[in-house]
Amino acid sequence: MDRLLVLTGLSEASPALLAVVISTAIMFAAALTFLVAAARLRRSNSRKAALWARLEMNWGATIDCISRGSAGEEELHRRVRGADRAVLVDYLYKSSLREERPARRAMYHRLAEPYLGVLEERARTGDIWQRARAVRTLGELAGDEAAPIILAALEDDAPHVAMTAAREYTRLRLGGVEALLDRLDRYRTWDRRLLRSMLASFGAAAAPQLRVRLENEAQPAYARAVCADALADLLRDGVATAASVATADLAATVLQREEDVDLLAASLRLLQATPGPTPRPASQREAVRRLCHAENDVVRGQAVACLARIGDEDDLTLVDRSLADLSPWVARSASLGLAMRNDLMDTSIRGVPVLAPDPLVIAGMGAEAEDGSDADDGVFPGGRK
């Protein structure tokens, strides 16, 4: 060290200068290291990208020949080197996702078959992202045959892998909705809209199970809210209307007994979505009327909108009063609810800060109401697309 100081002429430097010089040397070394690392990374990335592009071009040409019948499938297998197998599977996976023609998709799946063993292994032993990707790829390329892997992945410790498996399970319909309902707690961190959409995609067959879970007070409130919203989705889409009276009664019971804001809002949406004559039985209306005075804006807004849908003439006066609610959200819900009843349009316009109440405005308002728009419900004017 002393010799180094002498060599650099720093033997008599002050400690402060020495510290600065050493720091400068370190920074210089760091800058050089980053420069070299960035350049090497660039070279390696460029080579990899060029290699993949070349491979994919060759494979694409071969697959075109296979699909035209001018080459056999073994031609592609012959061209795949051991190290490129994972790249081929990835290529076939992406091609399959983009492909709409069933015959061509089936060909991709067939071509991938000999290489899926690697993925099965990866689905068990890889890191989180490898496992998730393997489950997704197997679901796409192996379909039902990947069922054991996907079912096992439903139990994966990593929420991301478990969710990927749940989505593959749903997409491939590997079983009933119970498997997911039993594991709702595992998906707790995910957005509820995603869960509800996943559950609703099981269709009418899921409705009885969803009702059972909604009724079960031992279930966490968030899980019951998800079930209520999934049921509402099914009803809105005209599916699962068979037990709609029982569903409406169930929603009303939840409204009477529970206090969780999300569960109340979801049950109000459910009650609103159930088909049936208007006005509804007194017990249902009473449960909703009580919530028209709730402290929470969202619950109050949902209750007002629901009451406009299921209430009698007396209830409508309560809804009418809500047009002057301090919360614009509640006032808007009331106006939309009334517009939907289609008999108090002029009153509703009075209560909303409309800028130019001309026929266009009224027409627009009617359209908004018909969409059943509701931000909490995940829909806005323009409707479900």
Partner: protein, 479 residues
């Protein structure tokens, strides 16, 4: 005697500058390291995600894109054409004409055949008069709210008042989104139900080729000033915000491109009209709001959703922009100063807030006066020349190292600049930005501090040339 006092003051100030330098660079290196780890993990996670899945599967929540605009006739049509063609299942655009004095509104009216439409208010945040609400006859998802001038925050509040979706995305009118940007940004809300705000990356549009508002060919700008800003944006987003986000202490989501949970923003009071840095102020307030109510929440940065924006190509406009950013930063911090070193606010109060106050808020004063003090010391022979030279070299090499690290992070993750010459130029820019450009920014930010202390709250005129509608520049060079 006076000389002695001056000399002592100078020595003390040099110590302050040294300390500031060490702490600031320590922070930068720490965030770069955290960014490196977070970006690596994020890049890996992308392998397991297909954005198309979100569309196919449903469940992606509806989003409103709020676009406040004041005199944006040059850029708004290009930006809107990109927004009307996004890959997202359910979204609408609320474009707010904030009393423009140019023909922004007329252009929109003609181009999109605007007709009066009805929308109910969902909140009551704004204070200015709305003149009319219009819906496009050709693109029903486009709504235009015409209002009297009230500033950007008020325009955003008006849009929020008419926003009916659970999520909203705030966007500058000169910004073009990539087609899948909303989907990618929305992922953070889907995967974590506690997310209340998330920001995407903002990249420099100058120099790149656009068609119908969408990026076609990513290239570096021709202007050297804009090129420096490319490196600066990479450093700020990939090496800075990514690291802050990984540490759970992100205090800024860019107003140019961020997504928020409407319900929470409305409950927290919407955008502040008292600050020119409304984006940062909102995030600080959201942290405060959620922590005071002890509610779980997450504010994050997502590096792959991209918004392309035009950056200034003249020193004068750049200085004005940075002066405004600095004032916005100080105003946001001052509005919530009770959070400073307040353990009630956890890491935000104890780490992020002090860092932003001292290092980013008043750092430019130390930095700028540091240059002056060193100059004085040299002129009067009060400091050893070798010390001054060594310290200057240290500052330059650490700046170069940080910028090169940011370029490396870009290469590690998204490598948007595919041209070899652009990459080489990025490396060179990382070196040369330390000679003049950084010092100029220090001066602009120093000026911002002074103006903030004098209470200036105006935005100042902005000049935009509409780089997304200038196709001529790129093809010639690409050839």
């Amino acid at each position: 005697m006076l000389i002695d006092v001056a000399w002592t003051a100078l020595v003390v100030f040099h110590m302050v500058v040294l300390l500031y330098f060490v702490v600031l660079n320590g922070y930068y290196f720490a965030t770069s390291i955290m960014s490196f780890r977070a970006l690596r993990q994020y890049s890996r996670s992308l392998q397991a995600v297909d954005t198309e899945d979100l569309i196919r599967f449903g469940g992606a929540p509806p989003v409103s894109i709020l676009v406040p605009a004041y005199n944006e006739a040059n850029t708004c049509l290009d930006a809107l054409s990109s927004l009307l063609d996004l890959e997202y299942p359910e979204y609408e655009i609320l474009f707010v004409n904030d009393g423009s004095t140019d023909d922004t509104f007329e252009m929109l009216r003609r181009e999109y055949q605007l007709q009066p439409g009805y929308r109910g208010r969902t909140s009551d945040l704004s204070r200015t008069q709305v003149r009319g609400i219009y819906q496009s006859a050709t693109h029903p998802r486009l709504w235009v709210i015409d209002k009297e001038n009230g500033g950007k925050s008020d325009a955003l509040n008006v849009a929020l008042d008419y926003c009916q979706t659970p999520l909203f995305c705030s966007l500058d009118a000169d910004t073009a989104l990539e087609r899948d940007a909303l989907l990618r940004l929305c992922r953070s809300f889907l995967e974590n139900g506690d997310t209340i705000a998330a920001g995407g990356i903002v990249r420099v549009a100058n120099g790149s080729t656009f068609k119908d508002g969408h990026i076609r060919n990513v290239r570096l700008p021709r202007s050297l000033l804009a090129q420096f800003q490319v490196v600066e944006y990479l450093r700020a987003f990939l090496a800075g915000r990514m690291g802050w986000s990984a540490a759970g202490v992100l205090l800024i989501v860019s107003g140019a491109f961020g997504m928020y949970r409407r319900e929470v923003v409305v409950a927290a009071g919407g955008y502040s009209t008292r600050s020119v840095g409304e984006d940062m102020e909102l995030i600080v307030r959201l942290h405060r709001y959620m922590r005071e109510r002890k509610r779980p929440y997450h504010v994050g940065f997502v590096p792959d959703p991209v918004a392309w924006t035009e950056v200034p190509e003249s020193l004068r406009v750049l200085a004005r922009q940075r002066d405004r950013w600095q004032r916005g930063l100080l105003q946001s911090l001052a509005a919530h100063r009770s959070m400073l070193f307040n353990p009630k606010y956890g890491r935000i109060g104890m780490v992020a807030y002090p860092y932003f106050w001292i290092m980013e808020g008043f750092g430019p004063v130390i930095e700028f006066l540091g240059y002056v003090a060193f100059a004085v010391a040299i002129i009067f022979g009060w400091a050893a020349p070798e010390f001054i030279v060594a310290f200057m070299l240290l500052a330059i090499f650490s700046g170069i190292a940080l910028s090169l690290a940011a370029v490396g992070l870009e290469e590690l993750s998204f490598r948007r600049y595919t041209s070899r010459s652009d990459f080489a130029r990025l490396l060179l820019l990382s070196v040369f930005e330390n000679f003049g450009y950084r010092q100029y920014l220090a001066f602009a930010r120093f000026r911002g501090v002074i103006l903030a202390m004098r209470g200036r709250r105006t935005w100042g005129a902005q000049e935009r040339r509409g780089v997304m509608s200038r196709p001529a520049e790129q093809p010639a060079r690409a050839a």
